[in-house]
């Protein structure tokens, strides 16, 4: 039984916790870590239950040896980089597999992990924890590196883990960050915070019209948005159109999305009410033209805006609520690129164009530029942090 009745050990136990305080860090991309992940990946990909969850399978793929070796490439020159030691992760309450990526990033950076699992129960979390246990049973030398716990909003526990960790990683947005900031850390500890962010997408209409595989694009865009109720930080809330034949491209794009979403997404009545409320609020409060596009039903809500204001994202909505704007110059997106802006996804335009705008104007935001359909792909560079470098230290040698 755990000593604190408000805390449950899901992976590891009191003993693991006690021993972790004296654990030795690993080098970045250590053989131990890579071999652990290789086995983890194999077990996930051959597990009957994980196959039912695409997000678990994707995670399994991500941990493959070849995939990890590729991730290690940019760090090859760091001959003496070591983990900081203990990373305390606060997983977001409403995304299932995120904790696992966070844990693997910490492991590859050479650290042990204490993870506060999502408060909401997810089958995916259970599966991943079960498989972690199986791998540890075969590689017991790694047991001390993982402590997965569950507890409610308990400041005393936050205090304890915050004080012993060397890096704190907070997912879950602004409120969670505020809450955790009340728990002090050691003087040398550092922190990675994933605040509330927003994202948008840019589509080149002419290239889109040329492409054969429009169904695939619809599916990709669906995965970027509806798959997480369009409520992930990475989910585009605004679609920016560039090019000549925009109205034709729009028609096809939204129709294809509708056809796909109609089969895959179920909209609750309350979501429909939320969306129309938000639309009216935008119209009442913003000093620009707001025009709702007539659609078949409430599945896709489209709102054309006459300008890209920096306050537009205050009205970001989920559940299939898209603001749309026709840009004559890609530079027009700059007001959206404030410190809250995370992912710019694109289709039918050159990524270089976006990069050039960012380097020329140097806005505070835009941390990722990725192709449409790839917004959810996790990478070791996230939200502007190099996770490996932030969770490790370099031993200088001149």
């Amino acid at each position: 039984m755990p000593q604190n009745s408000n805390l449950t050990y899901v992976l590891g136990n009191e003993m693991v916790e006690k021993n972790m305080y004296g654990i030795t860090a690993l080098p970045i991309f250590s053989d131990e870590a890579i071999s652990f992940l290789e086995l983890l990946s194999k077990k996930i990909l051959s597990d009957e239950e994980s196959k039912k969850f695409p997000d678990v399978v994707t995670f399994g793929f991500w941990c493959r040896k070849s995939s990890v070796q590729k991730m290690a490439q940019p760090y090859k020159d760091n001959t003496c980089s070591l983990g900081r030691r203990i990373v305390f992760h606060i997983a977001p309450s409403n995304v299932a597999v995120n904790f696992a990526y966070s844990c693997v990033a910490a492991l590859l950076a050479g650290n042990a992990s204490i993870i506060r699992l999502p408060s909401k129960s997810f089958r995916q979390v259970d599966i991943i924890c079960r498989i972690f246990k199986q791998v540890i049973a075969e590689q017991p030398n790694m047991e001390g590196y993982f402590l997965f716990v569950r507890y409610g909003h308990d400041k005393a526990i936050n205090d304890k883990y915050s004080f012993i960790c060397d890096t704190r990683v907070i997912w879950g947005g602004d409120n969670t960050i505020d809450e955790l900031r009340k728990s002090p850390m050691k003087a040398r500890a550092n922190e990675i915070t994933f605040a509330d962010r927003h994202s948008f997408t840019i589509i080149g209409a002419d290239k889109y019209l040329e492409t054969e595989n429009k169904d695939r694009i619809a599916q990709d865009f669906f995965n970027d948005t509806y798959l997480t109720d369009q409520n992930a930080c990475t989910s585009p809330r605004i679609v920016i159109w560039v090019g000549d034949n925009i109205s034709q491209a729009k028609n096809i794009f939204w129709q294809k999305l509708y056809d796909y979403a109609k089969r895959k997404y179920e909209l609750q009545p309350v979501q429909a009410v939320d969306k129309i409320t938000n639309l009216y609020k935008m119209a009442a409060e913003l000093n620009i033209d707001i025009k709702m596009v007539d659609t078949e039903d409430n599945l896709i809500t489209r709102v054309e805006v006459s300008a890209l204001l920096d306050t537009l994202m205050d009205y970001k909505m989920n559940s299939g609520f898209f603001m749309e704007y026709i840009a004559t110059d890609i530079k027009e997106v700059i007001p959206l690129c404030n410190s809250r802006c995370q992912t710019v996804s694109y289709y039918g335009i050159n990524a270089e164009c976006i990069k050039n705008v960012v380097t020329e104007y140097r806005p505070q935001g835009v941390d990722r530029i990725v192709p449409l359909g790839r917004t959810m792909d996790f990478s070791l560079i996230w939200d502007g942090y190099d996770l490996i470098r932030t969770m490790s230290r370099v031993v200088g040698n001149e």
Partner: protein
């Protein structure tokens, strides 16, 4: 047609054909009035591209979600003509609706309530027992839906007494004395459903004492949300009160602060009825089209009363079903329906945790 003229009509005698004609004409007129007088409303109507000229039926007139009154200050009269601002009840920290009333609208709310009330309780003023505490009207923070309801129904009172003290304790002795004083007269009991259950019914039952209410009418409203938690059905509620103190007439009503006055009262058959002055439309969540009779949907309420604020057509956050129109066995004309409870909250995914606190 002025609202005063509408009020001349009997509350439950207008059939569907005349009602449709009247509501289409009047609600369109109100929509145009609010477009001219409430700039935010005008912008909203422009955003959805509403053209009054093309609306041939009151079902095609847009509705505002009630929640907007919590987020925006929507008013269609000059600031100096605002007579009072009514707010919805909300626990501390929650946003409350703000409803702007001018003198005429406030007076019309009272008159409307009186017309509806006299249909079920007769036109006589009665001794009234308010199942609430006296501070509900004194405390400005609590002056809200609860206060408004009490004030509204108090005009039917010849003499009033509060059933509870400010510690929410049932004042059985005082009530008994009050009842003896007005022995033989019909007594009005009024309160919010949950208050009646929690602080009247339960407290009385626990005391083991009896109150003779064989000549009383109980009017209660405010929703079943908390009652569902107590697992009490409307039928159980009625029979519990009948068994404990012999109340022969227990009348539930449905209404909201955003359309005060136009309440929907329950008839002898247990059906909620729309009066001549307002109406309900049940809409499908998927596309907001009008649901068929008996089909579950979101309740929209329309009313000819709100001229001082654009609240003549509102989408509630309640679910309900339409049971019929003009053919309730109780003999009242108009639509009758059932409220099924609040819309279910969606479990939204995503990595941001702000959703829960957003509204």
């Amino acid at each position: 047609m002025t609202y005063e003229a509408v009020l001349q009509l009997e509350p439950y005698q207008v059939d569907r054909v005349s009602k449709k004609e009247m509501f289409t004409k009047e609600l369109l007129r109100m929509t145009e009035f609010h477009i001219e007088n409430c700039p935010q409303y005008a912008r909203m109507m422009r955003a959805i591209g509403f053209n009054p000229a093309l609306a041939d039926n009151y079902e095609s007139i847009p509705f505002l979600p009630v929640r907007l009154f919590k987020e925006l200050e929507l008013c269609s009269v000059q600031k100096e003509d605002v007579y009072k601002i009514m707010t919805s009840s909300g626990t501390s920290g929650q946003q409350v609706s703000k409803i702007y009333l001018d003198k005429a609208t406030a007076a019309n709310q009272q008159k409307t309530l009186a017309k509806i009330f006299s249909n079920i309780a007769g036109g006589m003023r009665m001794p009234m027992i308010i199942v609430d505490c006296p501070s509900v009207l004194k405390n400005r923070n609590m002056f809200s839906a609860r206060g408004a309801g009490i004030l509204g129904f108090s005009i039917f009172a010849r003499k009033k007494i509060y059933a509870l003290n400010d510690d929410m304790e049932l004042q059985i002795d005082a009530i008994q004395k009050f009842l003896e004083e007005y022995k033989g007269e019909k007594v009005l009991l009024f309160g919010f459903t949950f208050m009646v259950w929690q602080h009247f019914y339960k407290a009385l039952k626990q005391s083991g004492r009896r109150l003779e209410l064989g000549n009383a009418i109980l009017i209660h409203g405010g929703g079943w949300k908390k009652m569902v938690l107590e697992a009490v059905t409307p039928e159980a509620f009625n029979s519990a009160l009948r068994d404990l103190c012999g109340i022969p007439q227990v009348v539930n009503y449905y209404g909201m602060v955003e359309q005060t006055g136009c309440i929907y009262i329950e008839c002898e058959e247990g059906h909620l009825h729309a009066s001549t002055y307002s109406d309900v439309i049940i809409r499908r969540g998927g596309d907001f089209s009008v649901a068929t009779d008996g089909e579950r949907g979101i309740i929209q309420v329309v009313s000819l009363l709100p001229w001082s604020y654009p609240g003549h057509s509102l989408l509630t956050e309640d679910e309900g079903v339409l049971l019929g129109e003009d053919n309730c066995p109780c003999g009242r004309k108009g639509k009758y329906f059932k409220v099924l409870g609040r819309l279910k909250n969606a479990e939204i995914r995503g990595c941001s945790d702000t959703y829960a606190t957003k509204f």
